[in-house]
Every structure is written in structure tokens, then in C-alpha cells.
């Protein structure tokens, strides 16, 4: 195949920030009102672009946290040595403009018409697109059974905890805390492994569809674990974030 040079074709728009909601000490959900949003599918992401007065530009991708039909939202984790996330989580205010483009992604998406049982594996901020999937499932009245296994460092690091606790019909949520657990913790501990997956994920015989999202090392281990349980590789969709968060 060849080499060529082309001009860009996906257009940027300035969205108004309508709200900022802290989820955890380091995580904020930002609701946005873009002038020309075409709608999206659960699992997709959008690109954000910041421009400083001296012309310096920084771009990042963030998974969409909202379901189709809901006010557009992204959930951002503040990275200690980050360039964009500290701005989005600490400086940005309601009423500001935020340049974005999207929705982006045709592989890591869930379609409500799909009847497969869902295995959702989240590592840290990898919960964001999976939460959009669960919200879409609820919004569309889907009755596919879902099992979410969410790996986080500590309980205070769990994003959307109250919301995830409200799922009952057909959604089983389990957690594994890898760094520290509260007294009396009855959930799992430690990193995801074969026995934890055998416990928490759908068996391969259920012909499930899996979505695995989080830091690269988490995704490699978790996805390999599902394949080890007998999931066909094309039934395990993966999305890798940087070592500590979004792209």
C-alpha cells in the first residue's frame, strides 16, 4: 500500500460546559452542550482540544460517559503529571467553551439490539464507557443479563459507586480492590485472575459478548483471562487507556 498526504475531515465544535460533578477525589464528570451533536453509541469517545493564548495546542480522547439521548458527558481522571486532565478537573468552569469532535469509534460500541449476555470488565477509569453501556441498556429497556467486574485500587476510587449500586434487574456488579480494602470488605481483593473471572464473568457457554476497558496492562491480563475461559477472541472487545487514565 502507498504513501500519501490528506487534509482533515472530522470537524471540531465549541461545546458549552454546563456542569462539573466530582465523582471521587480525582475524578470529575463534565456535562457539555455542543451546538451540533449528531448523537452517539454507548462505548464511543470524543476528542477534546485545548488551545492556549500562545497557540499551544493539546488534544486528548475521553470516553463518553452518558448514554445516547442523555446530556453529553465525559468523566475525566486527574493525572498527577497530566497536562490536560488537571485543567479539565480543576480549572474548567460552567459556561466555559470546550472544543470537541465526535463521536468516534465503531468497534468498541454496544448496540441495544444485540441480545448477547454482557461481560463487562473495568480497570480504574475504564469503567466510563462501560457505564455508558449500562445506562444505554437501562434506557432502551434491554433485558440482556450483564455482569460487571470492576477493579479499582480502593473503595474511594470507585467511580459511579451509588449508581452502580442501584442496578438490580439482570445486572450483577462485583468489585475487586487491589490496593486496600475497608474493614469487613466482602468483595474480591487483588488483581483479576483466572479464578476471579471464572467467578464473576459469564461462562463461555452463555455465548457472551465482553467489553474490557482500562489501562493497557489490565486489559491484556483480563482479556487473556476471558480467552482462557473459552471466549472466542472476536467476542472480547478491548479498549486500552494509557497507563494511568485516558489517551
Amino acid at each position: 500500500m502507498e504513501r500519501t498526504a490528506v487534509r482533515g475531515r472530522l470537524t471540531w465544535q465549541a461545546a458549552t460546559v454546563t456542569g462539573l460533578t466530582p465523582e471521587t477525589a480525582a475524578v470529575v464528570t463534565i456535562t457539555l452542550d455542543p451546538p451540533d451533536w449528531p448523537g452517539h453509541q454507548a462505548g464511543q469517545h470524543l476528542d477534546v482540544r485545548l488551545t492556549a493564548e500562545d497557540g499551544y495546542v493539546a488534544e486528548r480522547s475521553y470516553s463518553i460517559a452518558s448514554a445516547p439521548g442523555e446530556p453529553l458527558a465525559i468523566t475525566v481522571e486527574r493525572l498527577e503529571d497530566g497536562e490536560v486532565s488537571p485543567y479539565l478537573t480543576e480549572e474548567l468552569r460552567a459556561g466555559d467553551q470546550l472544543e470537541l469532535r465526535g463521536p468516534i469509534g465503531g468497534y468498541f460500541v454496544w448496540k441495544p439490539a444485540d441480545a448477547s449476555p454482557l461481560t463487562l470488565l473495568a480497570g480504574g477509569s475504564g469503567i466510563v464507557p462501560l457505564r455508558a453501556i449500562l445506562r444505554d441498556r437501562l434506557r432502551t429497556g434491554s433485558d440482556v443479563p450483564a455482569r460487571l467486574l470492576y477493579s479499582a485500587r480502593t473503595l474511594p476510587d470507585v467511580i459511579y459507586r451509588d449508581e452502580l449500586g442501584q442496578h438490580h434487574d439482570g445486572v450483577a456488579v462485583s468489585y475487586t480492590l487491589t490496593r486496600a480494602q475497608p474493614p469487613g470488605w466482602a468483595g474480591h481483593t487483588g488483581r483479576i485472575d483466572a479464578s476471579l473471572l471464572a467467578d464473576a464473568a459469564w461462562p463461555a457457554t452463555a455465548k457472551p459478548l465482553a467489553y474490557v476497558c482500562g489501562p493497557t496492562s489490565f486489559v491484556e491480563t483480563a482479556a487473556a483471562g476471558l480467552v482462557g475461559l473459552g471466549y472466542p477472541p472476536d467476542r472480547v472487545k478491548t479498549e486500552r487507556f494509557g497507563a494511568t487514565g485516558g489517551h
Binding site: 471540531w12 465549541a14 482540544r49 485545548l50 488551545t51 492556549a52 493564548e53 500562545d54 497557540g55 499551544y56 495546542v57 493539546a58 503529571d81 485543567y87 480549572e91 474548567l92 468552569r93 466555559d96 467553551q97 470546550l98 472544543e99
Partner: protein, 202 residues
């Protein structure tokens, strides 16, 4: 022109009085960004060699022990990445490429640095001799970390830092200037930051 993001700070310029140290289009960084086109290699030192080759033949080769026995020197230099960050006063220790070429006793107009992982970059011989280039094994007083090119990388501070090839394993002496990895994909054959030679045709 994109709307300005209120409150988003641009990158640092040089401190007052030091503006002349920053090449055009660059900003100053305090950290040391890690950039890579592929996975970090981890060649065991027992297997590591540095070679000077010519026409496919190895003219001279050093094992790690042999390489470390060659006289080395401290280097302090400003470095400039084509992705626009610059870092002042970086401190290295390495063997001058002059010393290595002298020991090999060979000459050619150009070199192609070759590395673990397959990375290559091309340079004129004048730009790696005359005290302008080193094979560096220490950074900031410590052994060079793998993510920064350890155990050893080429160090050519007067050119954009993609020429300072990480995980370097040797120099191939060449009659012609043939593009290395980034040069093949659109970057400049020479890469002088003071002439802002970032891309082919600049």
C-alpha cells in the same frame, strides 16, 4: 483559528535573558518526556555489543565490558525534540563517537545508526565527529533507564533529538545519505533545530 481555552496555560518559554537558548518553535520542559515508536527493548548486557560496520562487514565491535573500558566523559547539553519540547543542561556520561571511530580506523561520508527494535537514523560523519556526538550510558548521574534508551543511546545534541537514537547498537558507515526511520516517514534528513528543519522540504 481555534477558540482559546480560558485559563489553559501555554508552555514555558525560556527564562528572561536565556531566550537565545531556545530554538524557534520550542518550549521549555522540566521533565523528560518518553517518546517511542515501539516497545522498549531489554537486551541483556551479556548479549550487548556496539559495532562499527561498513559494506555489511563488522570493522570493530565492543562488548559491554570493552565499551565501558573505553575512556568516557561527562557531557552537559541542551536537547531539542522535534515534538517541540526542549530541556536545558541535561547531564550525560558517554564515549565520544570520535574515540569509537578512531579505534575502528574507518571513514565514510555518512553513518546510519542502528538499534535494538529496528530503529535507524542517518547522519553526516561531520555531525558525529569533532566532539559533537557520544554513545551515552549514564543520564543525570545514573545508568540510563531503558525507557530513555538504556543501556546506551546515541547523543547528538546539536540536532533534533530523534537523531539521538535510543538503544543504539552501532553505526554503519555509508557512502550515501539514506533515510532512517523518521526520515523515511517525512522528517528532515538533517534536522537542525536552529533552522527549524523538522520535516522533509523544510
Amino acid at each position: 483559528m481555534s477558540p482559546i481555552s480560558r485559563g489553559f496555560r501555554g508552555r514555558r518559554r525560556a527564562p528572561a535573558g536565556q531566550e537565545g537558548r531556545l530554538p524557534p518553535g520550542q518550549y521549555l520542559t522540566e521533565d523528560f518526556p518518553v517518546l517511542s515508536a515501539g516497545p522498549t527493548p531489554h537486551t541483556p548486557l551479556a548479549d550487548w555489543t556496539f559495532s562499527i560496520t561498513q559494506g555489511g562487514a563488522t570493522e570493530q565491535s565492543w562488548s559491554w565490558q570493552e565499551f565501558r573500558a573505553v575512556p568516557s566523559e561527562d557531557v552537559t547539553a541542551d536537547i531539542h525534540c522535534v515534538t517541540r519540547w526542549s530541556k536545558f543542561d541535561t547531564r550525560w556520561r558517554g564515549v565520544s563517537v570520535d574515540t569509537l571511530l578512531d579505534q575502528a580506523g574507518q571513514d565514510a561520508p555518512y553513518v546510519l545508526a542502528f538499534c535494538d527494535g529496528g530503529y535507524t537514523t542517518n547522519l553526516p560523519i561531520e555531525d558525529v565527529t569533532g566532539g559533537k556526538a557520544w554513545v551515552a550510558f549514564d543520564y543525570d548521574g545514573q545508568p540510563l533507564e531503558p525507557e530513555h534508551g538504556g543501556p546506551a543511546r546515541l547523543l547528538v545534541p546539536h540536532l533534533y533529538f530523534w537523531k539521538s537514537a535510543k538503544w543504539v547498537r552501532g553505526l554503519a558507515l555509508r557512502d550515501h545519505d539514506a533515510p532512517g526511520f523518521w526520515e523515511t516517514y517525512g522528517y528532515h534528513m538533517y534536522g537542525d533545530p536552529w533552522k527549524e528543519q523538522r520535516y522533509a522540504g523544510d
